[in-house]
C-alpha cells in the first residue's frame, strides 16, 4: 500500500496545475469556436470584430492600468476609478460644446477650430482627473490607511457623490449626450473594401502608444523602478529612504489622470451619460481580475482579451439572434470563472 496519497481532484489542486497562460489559451479557443459557430468573412473579421475590439481594448486599458497599479502599490481598490473616467468625459465634452462659437450658451472665450477644442478637451480632462485623483488620495484615502475597510467603503461613497454631482450640474444633467468628433477625425477610411471610422484608429493609436510609453517608463526610468519595487514591498522601499507616501499620491494622480484621459477620448466616441462611469468600471474590474491585480502587463493583456471578447460575443449574439443583454452579462461570467479557477489572474500574486 502506498503511503503517498494520490493527488485529489479538488479545486485547489486543479488551480495549481493551471499555468498563467491557460486563461489566454482558453479565451483564444472561445474566439475560435465563435468563428466556427458564426463565421465571418475576412474584411468583416478585421473591420467589424478585431478593430472595434482593439478600440474597446484601448479604452479599457486606460482605465485598468491605473486601477491595477494603484491596488498593487497601496492595496486600495478604488471603486471611484470609473467616476474619474466619467468626469474626464464630461470635462472634455464641455470643452467641445461650451467653447464652440456656434453653441447658443457658449463661454465668453471661444475657439473656432473643432480640432483645437478637442485637443484642449483631452488635456483638460486628463489634468482635471489627475487633480481630483490627487485630492481624493490626500483628503480621503490617506487618513484611512489604518482602516482599510473604510477606504473601500469611502471610495464607493465617492461613486455616489460624483454621480449626484454630475446630475446636479444643470448643463450636464441625467441625459445622455451624443458624441462630438473633431473635424480631422470624423471621417472614415477604406479598409479591405469596408469603411472604418478614423476616430477608432485614433483611439487604438492612443491606447497602444500610451501602453508602450508607460511600459517603457516602468521598465527603464527610475520612477518606474520605484513603483515596481513599491508593488513588491512598499515598506522596504520606504526603508531605503524613498518617500513612499509621495509616490502613492503621484501614482494615484497619474492613474486617475489616465482614466480621465480615457474618458475624455471616449466621450467623442460613445457620448457622455452619468452611468458610463460604473459601466466602464465593471469592465476595468474584469480586465484587472483577468490580468492580475497589481500587474501592469496583466492589465494591458487583459484589456486586449476583454475588448476582443466583447466584440466577439456581440458578433455571436447578432448572428444567432440571442438577447443583447446576454453579451454584457457574459463578460462578468468570464470574470467569475477566472476568479474561481485562478484567483490571481494571469500575472497577479497567487493566494
Amino acid at each position: 500500500m502506498s503511503v503517498i496519497s494520490r493527488p485529489s481532484t479538488s479545486w485547489r489542486s486543479l488551480r495549481s496545475q493551471l499555468s498563467r497562460w491557460s486563461i489566454f489559451v482558453a479565451l483564444s479557443a472561445i474566439f475560435g469556436i465563435i468563428l466556427v459557430v458564426a463565421p465571418a468573412s475576412w474584411p468583416k473579421l478585421v473591420t467589424g470584430i478585431v478593430l472595434p475590439g482593439l478600440t474597446l481594448a484601448a479604452v479599457f486599458f486606460l482605465l485598468a492600468a491605473g486601477l491595477s497599479l494603484i491596488f498593487g502599490l497601496m492595496d486600495v481598490l478604488n471603486f471611484a476609478h470609473g467616476s474619474l473616467f466619467m468626469l474626464g468625459a464630461y470635462l472634455a465634452w464641455s470643452c467641445n460644446v461650451w467653447l464652440d462659437p456656434r453653441y447658443p450658451g457658449h463661454w465668453p472665450v471661444t475657439i473656432a477650430s473643432s480640432n483645437l477644442r478637442f485637443a484642449l478637451g483631452l488635456i483638460i480632462g486628463m489634468l482635471g482627473g489627475a487633480l481630483i485623483g490627487a485630492l481624493i488620495e490626500v483628503c480621503f484615502i490617506r487618513p484611512l490607511y489604518s482602516r482599510p475597510i473604510y477606504q473601500v467603503l469611502l471610495t464607493l461613497g465617492l461613486v455616489f457623490v460624483f454621480d449626484a454631482l454630475v446630475r446636479t450640474i444643470p448643463a450636464w444633467g441625467s441625459l445622455s449626450r451624443p458624441p462630438i468628433k473633431p473635424s480631422a477625425l470624423s471621417g472614415s477610411l477604406e479598409l479591405l473594401g469596408r469603411r472604418f471610422p478614423t476616430y477608432s484608429l485614433f483611439l487604438i493609436g492612443l491606447g497602444f502608444g500610451l501602453a508602450l510609453l508607460i511600459g517603457a517608463v516602468l521598465q527603464r526610468a527610475r520612477v518606474g523602478m520605484i513603483i515596481r519595487a513599491g508593488v513588491q514591498d512598499s515598506a522596504m522601499v520606504e526603508a531605503l529612504g524613498i518617500n513612499v507616501r509621495r509616490v502613492f499620491t503621484s501614482v494615484f494622480a497619474a492613474g486617475s489622470g489616465l482614466a480621465a484621459l480615457g474618458g475624455a477620448a471616449a466621450a467623442s466616441f460613445i457620448g457622455v451619460y452619468p452611468e458610463m462611469g460604473l459601466e466602464y468600471q465593471l469592465f476595468a474590474f474584469i480586465v484587472v481580475v483577468i490580468g492580475g491585480l497589481g500587474s501592469y502587463g496583466g492589465a494591458a493583456l487583459g484589456a486586449l482579451l476583454i475588448g476582443l471578447a466583447r466584440t466577439f460575443s456581440d458578433h455571436l449574439v447578432l448572428e444567432t439572434s440571442l438577447p443583447t443583454a446576454i453579451a454584457s452579462a457574459s463578460t462578468v461570467l468570464v470574470m467569475a470563472l477566472v476568479l474561481v479557477l485562478r484567483p490571481g489572474g494571469m500575472f497577479g500574486k497567487q493566494e
Binding site: 492595496d75 481598490l77 475597510i149 473604510y150 446636479t168 481580475v289 476568479l339 493566494e351
Partner: protein
C-alpha cells in the same frame, strides 16, 4: 435600574404599536407610510450589518438580494392566478437562501476586495438584465417599466388597509430582529465574530471559515430578500432600480449612520435616513438649501463625512455617552478593521 433596562424593549414596541394612532387625522396615513418604509429599510440594513458588522465581509451587491426578493414577489403576484402569500413567502425565502449560497460559494473563497468586486458586478448584471426591453426578457421582468399594479390581498393591501400593513411590517421587523439577535448570540454567531476579528486564527482553531461565511451570506441575503418582498408589497410595484448601486449605498449608509457591528444600529440608521430625507424635502428646509444641493448629493457627502470622522455611528456616540461598553465596542470595530490583517488577506 436593571428592571428599567428589561422594560425598555417592551416600552419601545408599545410606543411603535401606538404610534399610528398618535397623528392627526389628516396626516396619519402619510406618517404610517413613512414608518412602514422605515421598518422595511431597517430589515434591509440589518441584513447588511450581519455581513459587514458581524462577519467582516464587504458586500457591494446587497441590492441584488433585495431586488431578487422583490422581483420574486412581483412575478408570483402578477400572474393570472396570483400565488397565495404563503407561497410567495416560501419562494422569497428559498430564493434568498439559494442566491446567498450561490454568491457565497462562488466568491467567498476569495479575500475581501475580490468579493466586493464580484458582488458589485453581479448586482450590476442583474440591473442590466432587468432593465433591458428585450422582447424575450420583458414578459418576465417588465423591462424599464418594471412590474406595476400588483394585486395584493385585501387584508394587507397598503392602500385599503394601511394599518394592517403597518402592523405586518412592524411585526416582521421585530421578528427578524429577534431572529438575527438569537443567531448572533448563538455559538455560530460568536464564531462569525471570531472570523471578523481574525479569520486565520478561527481557521487554525478548526472552524470551517468558508462554511461559516457562506452561512452568514445566506442569512443576510434571506433577510434582504424578505425586505425586498415587503417593499414590493408596499409599493405594489417592482422596478429595476431595486438592483441599483444606490440601493446598496443606502444599506451602507444606514448601517454606518446607526453603527457597524450593533443590531440596534441599523434600525436607528434606517429611521434617521428616512426622516432626514423627509425633513430635507419639506418646504421649510428646501427653501433654505441652494437648488443645486440635491438630497442624494447631500447624503453622499454625509456618508463620506461619517466614514471619515464618525465610523462608529449613532450607537458609537450613545455608548460613548454611557461610557460603559464604549471601550469594548470601539475596540471591537478597531480590531476588526486592523490594517495588518487586511494586508495579509490581500497577499
Amino acid at each position: 435600574m436593571i428592571w428599567l433596562r428589561r422594560l425598555l424593549p417592551v416600552a419601545i414596541v408599545a410606543v411603535l404599536a401606538s404610534l399610528p394612532f398618535a397623528f392627526a387625522e389628516s396626516t396619519t396615513r402619510f406618517w404610517q407610510g413613512v414608518l412602514i418604509q422605515i421598518f422595511v429599510l431597517a430589515i434591509y440594513a440589518l441584513s447588511y450589518d450581519i455581513l459587514l458588522g458581524f462577519t467582516g465581509i464587504v458586500s457591494f451587491g446587497q441590492a441584488l438580494f433585495l431586488g431578487a426578493g422583490g422581483y420574486t414577489t412581483a412575478i408570483l403576484l402578477h400572474r393570472e392566478q396570483p400565488a397565495s402569500l404563503l407561497v410567495v413567502l416560501l419562494a422569497v425565502i428559498g430564493v434568498g437562501l439559494l442566491l446567498g449560497a450561490g454568491v457565497g460559494l462562488l466568491s467567498l473563497r476569495l479575500s475581501g476586495v475580490y468579493f466586493s468586486m464580484i458582488t458589485l458586478a453581479l448586482a450590476e448584471i442583474a440591473f442590466i438584465l432587468f432593465r433591458t426591453d428585450d422582447a424575450r426578457l420583458k414578459p418576465y421582468t417588465g423591462g424599464e417599466i418594471g412590474i406595476q399594479g400588483l394585486d395584493v390581498p385585501a387584508l394587507i393591501d397598503p392602500t385599503q388597509n394601511r394599518l394592517h400593513f403597518y402592523f405586518l411590517a412592524l411585526a416582521s421587523m421585530i421578528a427578524l430582529y429577534s431572529f438575527a439577535r438569537r443567531v448572533i448570540n448563538s455559538p455560530t454567531g460568536r464564531v462569525w465574530l471570531a472570523v471578523r476579528e481574525n479569520e486565520t486564527r478561527a481557521a487554525v482553531l478548526g472552524y470551517n471559515t468558508l462554511r461559516l461565511k457562506v452561512a452568514a451570506t445566506m442569512l443576510s441575503s434571506t433577510l434582504a430578500a424578505l425586505a425586498g418582498m415587503l417593499l414590493v408589497l408596499y409599493e405594489k410595484s417592482a422596478t429595476y432600480e431595486m438592483f441599483s448601486v444606490s440601493m446598496t449605498i443606502q444599506a451602507l449608509l444606514m448601517t454606518i449612520i446607526g453603527g457597524i457591528g450593533t443590531l440596534v444600529g441599523p434600525l436607528l440608521g434606517a429611521a434617521t435616513l428616512r426622516l432626514l430625507d423627509q425633513w430635507l424635502k419639506s418646504a421649510s428646509v428646501s427653501a433654505f438649501l441652494p437648488t443645486w444641493l440635491r438630497a442624494d448629493l447631500l447624503f453622499g457627502l454625509i456618508y463620506v463625512a461619517l466614514v471619515l470622522f464618525f465610523p462608529a455611528g449613532i450607537m458609537g456616540a450613545i455608548n460613548r455617552l454611557r461610557g460603559r461598553r464604549q471601550q469594548r465596542s470601539v475596540q471591537q470595530v478597531a480590531q476588526a478593521l486592523k490594517p495588518q490583517e487586511a494586508l495579509e488577506e490581500s497577499r
